[in-house]
Amino acid sequence: MSAQSGKNGFELRKDLFADERDDNLNEIGKRIRRQDIEGHVTGRSPFYDDHLFDGLLHIRCVRSPHHHARIRRIDTSRAAGMDGVVRIVTGADVPVNLNTLLSLLDFGLDDEPVLSHAKVAYKGEPVAAVIAATEAQARAAAQAVQVDWEVLPHVLDVEEALKPGAPTVNETYPANAFVYHGKYDHQKLRYGDVDRALAEADHVVEGRYEMSPIEQAPIETCGAIAAQEQNGRYVCYTGTQALFFSLGTASKVLNLPSSRLHFIGGTVGGGFGGKVDSIHEPLAILGTMLTGRPCKSQWDREEEMQVGAPRGAERWYVTDGVMKDGRITARKFTGYFDSGAYTRLSSYAIIKGVGHLPGPYTIPNVYADVYCVYTNRTPATAMRGFGITGVDFAIEAHMDKVAERVGMNPVDLRILNAYRDGDMKAHRRVAKNCALVECCQVAAEKAGVRLSPDPLAATSMTGGGGPRGALPAHTATDENGRVEGFSSGSYAQKDGVSVQPVAASKAPAMATGQRAPGGGSTPPQGVSAPSPAPPAPVPSQPAAKKPARSGAMRFSSLSGFRRR
């Protein structure tokens, strides 16, 4: 069946697009050995976990056994007296115990504590961190921390979570959906008139698609090691794949200027998107601030798989309007990203996904409603293909059904509908530099799939533009999913204090014991934290001031999200 079964192959098709390239370069285009390969293959490349300082302390978290529960009391007294325990950290010790990762990009409201103190919203959520001389001692003491839980009703399904009366997962977004532009409970894409085009189509093809959460599965689990440097600075060796994301996050939640932080990383044992979340760097540095000693925070494999944020699940409903000749005239999406208990990066991935619709095809009528939904599960985060992989699965599985319905070869169907240079895309920008047609042709040729004459002769440079490059004469818009009470910016106010959203229009009644978003007793609480047992050098207490917005870390303005 396959032209080349039985062996791997690799070729550069220099014949294609040759007139668009200068191939006479010195270093570009060459198979040059990796700069760092010798260190890797001899086992000498330093990773963060190679920086094991003398006197290194180990941090292990106390985690929720429940999907959703209120914290009545955390009793650390027995654990604090156990062998090797130096300090037990709770939310009160974190200078700014509420954050959202994308605040560094000025996108979204602070909604997630570093260490939860009021309630937990997923199984595995950390509520305290034990710092001890050995990892085993830290684990034993973490087991001995007593938490008095009041178990709350939970919701795990994205569509259930959006129904009235569902438990509120994340108080910052009481209706369990991220609020886009301070206005809607989903991101819209409206291009042309999909309902009319569906009514006029020869065939309507519907589908429902879903992808379960997936682990990034790096060989090196996430972690960081911090130690005191001179002059009040802290060094942090980290496995982050986002150096200044992690530095900026630590700066914010620890209320330290970036000049007091020295982050070193750069060689990472696999990331795949799972090492952006900056969980360990603030914890390790906080541990060092509180104990005066080097501290390590690191997930074991179980935590990496069940507490570390996965690629989130997605559910997509797709409806296509198709003509007998295979032209797709309408495509409608309803999408649900399962963000888990907190936002992390899902809200942003949805924008990326919406800009990607309807896939690499020129379709004159496109519609999408995409929701970032909070459920009582481990927060989701980035993974290779973030925002795109799930919907590409939906689109391309759906294309197969469309091909079957109209009786076409599935490759012919793709080429017939493929976007070409000069076509207008649904996000209202003109396509250029396209190459889908050629990829389809090359793959089909290699696999011995016979194409019809027209698709075989097609190119990305021809057939596009003209009427295909024009915006639709009419686009149907609506105000569905309107949310009241959020500032139009959907971002925290300039002084760093979170906006307090009021309940959205379709928000269910909040559970008993209603608190301010994210817990009313957020920053700062470090003032009353007991001093650690005094090892030399004298540890510095985390500053317990209101966080200044460290402007250098952020954009001054993001008009896309803070309309003024």
Binding site: M1, Q4, S5, G9, E11, L12, F17, L25, E27, I28, K30, R31, I32, Q35, H67, K123, L156, D157, V158, Y180, L189, Y209, E210, M211, I214, E215, A217, T240, Q241, A242, L243, H262, F263, I264, V268, G271, K275, E302, M305, Y348, I351, K352, G355, G359, P360, R377, T378, I388, F393, A394, E396, D400, A418, H427, N433, C439, A443, K446, A447, S559
Partner: protein, 340 residues
Amino acid sequence: MTRHTGRGFAAINYPIGMNLGGDPSQALVHSNPDGKFTVALSAIDLGQGMKSVTRQIAAETLGVPIADVYVDTADSDTGPHDMGSFASRGTHRMGNAVIEASLEARSVMLEAAAEELEVDAGDLVTDGQGNIHVRGAPSRSITTMAAAQAAQFKQGRTIAGRGIFLVPLSDVDPETGEMSPVTTFAHAALVVEVTVDDETGEVEVVDIQSAYEVGRALNPGLVEQQLRGGAWMGMSHAAWETTEPYYPARDHGPVDFNHYVMPGPGDLATHHISVLERPAEDGPYGGKGPGEMCANPVLPAVVNAVYDAVGVRIDALPVTPEKVLRGLQANGGARPRQAL
């Protein structure tokens, strides 16, 4: 029992670079007095080859041999600001910042050489072998080392450069979703061949014939490693992996690699890769960044191939033997199509 063979097709494009823009990367380049260059970055090498590809870009732009460039990355005291390696932004954003920084350093190097050769800097070219000479007159030359020495000890010039690459932030319209997500897209299409065992429900991916369009393969070895590994990850996502096998229920979550199963050496499909290069207008030397997109087409191609093999549509990933068997049961047995 019967093992049925089927083939599935999928095609995708992929947005390259930080979505919506607004998140630039910076780079610094400087030379030692002997003409050896250091590139200082804060980008992360996840194994994808960040250090290597930026080293090639710097050497190409400076016009010096690859051995004369070393990339030092991810020390926040020395590397300028860069949010990180994600969103297919490494090569695209950082590559362009390295070009800008290298161009500035190169122009100082050529000025130093011009002063030594007593010619106009605009008439000088580099040969990429460590020499600078007058265009069309290779004998009127100076080594890059001699030019750097002269700059340091005689002329008092700093052979150094700064670079930043910013794509301005795009608005997103709340009503229509109008936006400028990214400036360029990579592409891929592939045919996957599977076998499906109608007794056990097991799916085996046996062959992949792919075409990936990457703008320019800046280092074909690094591109191949990404595509081969990424396609493996794609087949793993399609038919092996999940942290929640009964999503949305959270039961039976794996906690180690004995239960979180991925394809091992014996499960690997043969993969024949064709790379197409249509340079991106604003990509570094046209490069787009192949790393993220390469898994995506494999997932739908696998479910399409399962349908081709036994007539069962699996619309919820991953494809497990249980789902295949339930589908076969519902259909009253395998319905081989072999339509592709």
